[in-house]
């Protein structure tokens, strides 16, 4: 037992264990505290430098590997040979016992221990102070500095003995390999080496044993997670004082990032090289400093031809200011995206391109140039045009579809179809030939023409059933040839044996039969173009589709024409019939009038008068029918004469009021003479129609108002009743032919009166209208220009 150390001494009560440890922590000599069993509970910083294996918490100083003290024969002392460890087990303190790290006894420590007591007997703690011997101390300070460097390095710095056992392991190593220092100390370095590279370690050790270094040796190691890590290794021998190699230091640098960035670089350049886009870089003066294969492909220049040259080489003269603008933007750090322009290739050809330019910056963010990505958009433009033309075609298709389905007039339909198909097929001219039967056999009649004046065909004979035309007009199918003059069917028919002189020049030829739903060949659409190979399959399909659509419409149209001609016949018939009807009517009226005079008996006289009324009504109806058919045929004739309109109204209202009618006509017509030039008879017919309607459709009233107004060089007549009135729907239709309001059931009429009235007023450049409220009555009005206005 040593007197200076009182094993039973308590720590000063005013200093806590924590504070005590704090003091120890920063002392320059290695100090650690362990329990009775040798388990370390505290070690200071210096301790870590000197005895890295001693760590806080659970390392045991009784382990064989903890201390590397040697005896005089340089033999490592085992734990049981170390007196201070023996003292621990005997719970004794020691003082100034010397231990050496080398044979010569220059490096070593003077070890002392203290015993701290706790509350319980088991709480005994042993503090060991290792005072480095003079040289060790000096060396150790240097080592502290070196250790700090080692610890802070990102590289793995490992030392091992000649058997490969790891002696030191820095933070960098932990970072790269994933193992902690504690995990690796004392382990063999071989656990880091992939099995395939074991041989390598042998070589390294051999080199080291020979006292040689290994510089920047690139290899692969395995980390804790089992991943392969590419490394650059520098291995140096560690020598003892006598110069003998006792181990090796290894500096390993993780080069996966470097490899990655190299790989990235390689990949990027591969991308740049393989890109279809031209990728060019230039400095701020516009001098080209890189040029890929894509750029060569677009512009024709090889890299060597353009490096060091100005980018303006590629810019057409008239666009040189573009480069000024681009450079200005680049200078201010802006990007230019998808700028569409024209550039010049080596052979002087203009190339449409889309250019994106970005500023290039150095590592300090300073703009040093620009990268340019150039795309040849020739194809893009072509396909854009193609799409546009497709859209245009769709538009035409749509419009022709609408037109031909909404129009019934044969010629209009055919012209539309011919125009549209000529445009869509890209033909120089297109024609529709009607398939008509003539005595000498079938032949065609030119109906419509597009792209050439009709005179171009007028002097030529109509196409016959020649070998060329026959398939079309027999409905056999579509003919489409790139060069008709080279076709076997061409030139085989007399008299021309080919196209007659003066015929429009045709090389490309396409002919499509237009076949009705019933299978009749209505005609043929024929297209021509002076150049070869103009008509493609798509044109054929398009025209065929329109032809099919047109055929349906033509069917309808033919039906329509038939109906129209029937309708004309009907009008003719009505004209004739009404004429014929009038003759017997005249006879009937004549005899009735004779009888009227001869018969005195009142009842018979009344009956006769009623019969005469009916005959007169019949006459009016016949007149209406006749007039209507004349109007339809545009044959209604007018005899204009000048007369005083006011006077006519006056006389008319007198006539009505003198006759035995149910209503009284109340005229409000002033007394000023108002001259108009009109067909007196027709205008009277108009007034009769309106007055009779007013009476007829106001069965419960007894007045009809007749008003005449002069305003702005015209006269307006208003016939107002207090009758049934009209719904807005009825007001809309009331001037239509044969229209009769639903509510007029039980009231006679053909529905022609107002129709004729409207026709007559229209013919006089007048206006006819109606204002009405259902249940309250109607107001029909028409205006006519005053005489001066007509003349």
């Amino acid at each position: 037992m040593h007197s200076t150390t009182n094993p039973k001494r308590n720590l000063k009560p005013e200093i806590s264990l924590l504070e005590y440890k704090k003091v120890l922590q920063d002392l320059p000599i290695p100090i650690f505290i362990c329990d009775q069993k040798g388990v370390v509970t505290f070690s200071n910083k210096a301790c870590k430098e000197h005895f890295p294996i001693i760590l806080e918490d659970d390392s045991n100083i009784l382990n064989e590997d903890t201390f590397n003290f040697l005896d005089k024969n340089a033999k490592k002392l085992k734990p049981e040979e170390l007196a201070f460890l023996q003292a621990l087990q005997q719970k004794k303190a020691i003082k100034n016992q010397k231990y050496y790290l080398d044979r010569s006894g220059t490096l070593g420590y003077s070890v002392s221990s203290k015993i701290h007591t706790g509350e319980n007997p088991e709480d005994l703690a042993f503090q060991f102070d290792f005072l480095p011997l003079n040289k060790t101390k000096k060396r150790s300070l240097k080592q502290i500095a070196l250790s700090a460097i080692v610890e802070s390095s990102n590289d793995a710095i490992i030392s091992k003995d000649l058997n490969g056992k790891i002696i030191s392991w820095n933070k960098g190593a932990e970072k790269i390999f994933g193992y902690t220092e504690k995990e690796m100390l004392g382990k063999n370095v071989s656990i880091l080496i992939p099995s395939s590279r074991r041989q390598e370690e042998k070589l390294i050790l051999k080199t080291i044993k020979n006292g040689k270094s290994l510089d920047h040796f690139e290899t692969i190691r395995v980390n804790k997670a089992g991943n392969m890590i590419p490394l650059s290794l520098t291995v140096s021998p560690i020598k003892d004082e006598s110069g003998q190699v006792i181990g090796a230091s290894k500096v390993a640098r993780d080069i996966s990032d470097r490899l990655r960035s190299e790989e990235k670089q390689a990949r990027l350049s591969a991308i740049v090289e393989s890109s279809d886009d031209g990728i060019i870089s230039k400095d701020l003066n516009g001098i080209i400093n890189s040029w890929n294969i894509g750029a060569k492909r677009i512009f024709g220049y090889s890299e060597s031809e353009v490096l060091g040259k100005s980018i303006t080489l590629l810019i057409p003269k008239e666009r040189l200011n573009e480069e000024t603008v681009i450079l200005k933007k680049i200078h201010s750090g802006e990007r230019i995206e998808h700028f569409e322009t024209i550039r010049l290739s080596k052979n002087g050809k203009e190339v449409p391109v889309s250019v994106s330019v970005s500023p290039l910056k150095d590592s300090h963010g300073k703009i040093i140039g620009a990268s340019k990505i150039v795309r040849n958009i020739e194809e893009q433009i072509k396909s854009k045009q193609k799409i546009e033309s497709y859209v245009e075609k769709l538009r035409i298709l749509n419009s022709v579809g609408k037109d031909i389905s909404s129009k019934l007039d044969l010629e209009t339909v055919l012209q539309k179809v011919t125009d549209a198909t000529t445009k869509l097929s890209g033909a120089k001219f297109g024609a529709f030939f009607y398939n008509t039967q003539i005595e000498s056999g079938e032949s065609m009649m030119l109906y419509t023409l597009s792209g050439a004046p009709k005179q171009a065909f007028e002097k030529l004979g109509m196409p016959r059933h020649t070998a060329v035309f026959q398939p079309t007009f027999s409905g056999q199918g579509i003919v489409r040839v790139d060069d008709i003059t080279q076709d076997t069917r061409y030139g085989r028919n007399a008299p021309y044996n080919g196209m007659p002189t003066g015929h429009l020049q045709v090389t490309s030829y396409m002919a499509i039969p237009v076949i009705s739903t019933s299978g009749n060949v209505i005609g043929g659409l024929i297209f021509g173009h002076p150049e070869k190979g103009v008509f493609k399959k798509e044109h054929e399909i398009m025209v065929r589709n329109i032809a099919a659509q047109a055929a349906i419409t033509l069917d309808n149209s033919q039906l329509f024409e038939k109906v129209k001609s029937l309708s004309e016949k009907k009008d003719e018939f009505i004209a004739l019939a009404s004429h014929e009807l009038k003759t017997p009517l005249t006879t009937i009226k004549g005899y009735l009038q004779i009888l009227e005079k001869k018969i005195e008996e009142p009842k018979s006289k009344l009956f006769l008068s009623k019969t005469l009324d009916q005959a007169n009504r019949l006459n009016i109806l016949i007149d209406d029918l006749l007039n209507m058919s004349r109007i339809e045929a545009g044959k209604l004739e007018f005899n204009y004469e000048e007369f005083d309109f006011r006077e006519m109204l006056f006389e008319l209202s007198e006539t009505y009021n003198y006759s035995e009618i149910s209503h009284r006509i109340l005229p409000d017509i002033g007394d000023k003479a108002l001259f108009i030039k009109a067909d007196k008879q027709r205008i009277e017919q108009v007034l009769n129609n309106l007055l009779n309607n007013a009476i007829k459709y106001s069965p419960n009233a007894d007045k009809v108002y007749l008003k005449l107004q002069e305003n702005h060089n015209k006269v307006t007549v208003i016939v107002k009743d207090e009758g049934l009135g009209l719904t807005p729907e009825q007001q809309k239709n009331v001037f239509n032919r044969f229209y009769r309001a639903e509510s007029t059931k039980g009231i006679n009429g053909l529905g022609l009166g107002l129709y004729l009235t409207k026709q007559i007023i229209d013919a006089h450049n007048g206006k006819l209208g109606v204002k009405s409220e259902e249940g309250k009555g109607s107001e029909f009005f028409f205006s006519l220009p005053l005489k001066n206005e007509i003349l």
């Binding site: 004429h579 009038k582 003759t583 009517l585 005249t586």
Partner: protein, 121 residues
């Protein structure tokens, strides 16, 4: 008795008979013809011209307007007044025919009498 003679040309038998009756009733001497041919033949062969010709325009074998124009060209017959009748609504068809008047079918008896008296005094 100095009876006035009227030549009536009307293809419709019913109307022809009615007018024949009406005119006879008013003491005219009436010669009625159903068509243009028989009328023209009679007019040529007749020793005495009628005082008036009352003629329908639409005849099965001719047109009253044309017949009238023909008469007006002939030196002997141009003085005979011709009164045309028709169911045609437009009296202008008789313009330039040389007819003295036009009467529209159907007509009132009184209207017929008035017109005829105007030309046959």
């Amino acid at each position: 008795m100095n009876m006035k003679t009227i030549f009536l040309v009307e293809d419709d038998q019913g109307l022809r008979e009615l007018i024949h009756f009406l005119l006879t009733d008013k003491n005219y001497e009436v010669e009625a013809f159903p068509n243009a041919t028989s009328f023209e033949k009679r007019l040529e062969t007749s020793n005495q011209d009628p005082d008036l010709i009352l003629m329908d325009i639409m005849l099965p074998d001719g047109n009253g307007v044309d017949l009238c124009k023909g008469l007006k060209k002939s030196n002997h017959k141009k003085e005979i007044p011709v009164l045309l009748m028709s169911a045609h609504a437009n009296p202008s068809i008789a313009d330039n025919s040389g007819a003295c008047d036009f009467i529209k079918k159907p007509f009132d008896i009184e209207e017929l009498y008035t017109r005829i008296q105007k030309y046959v005094v």
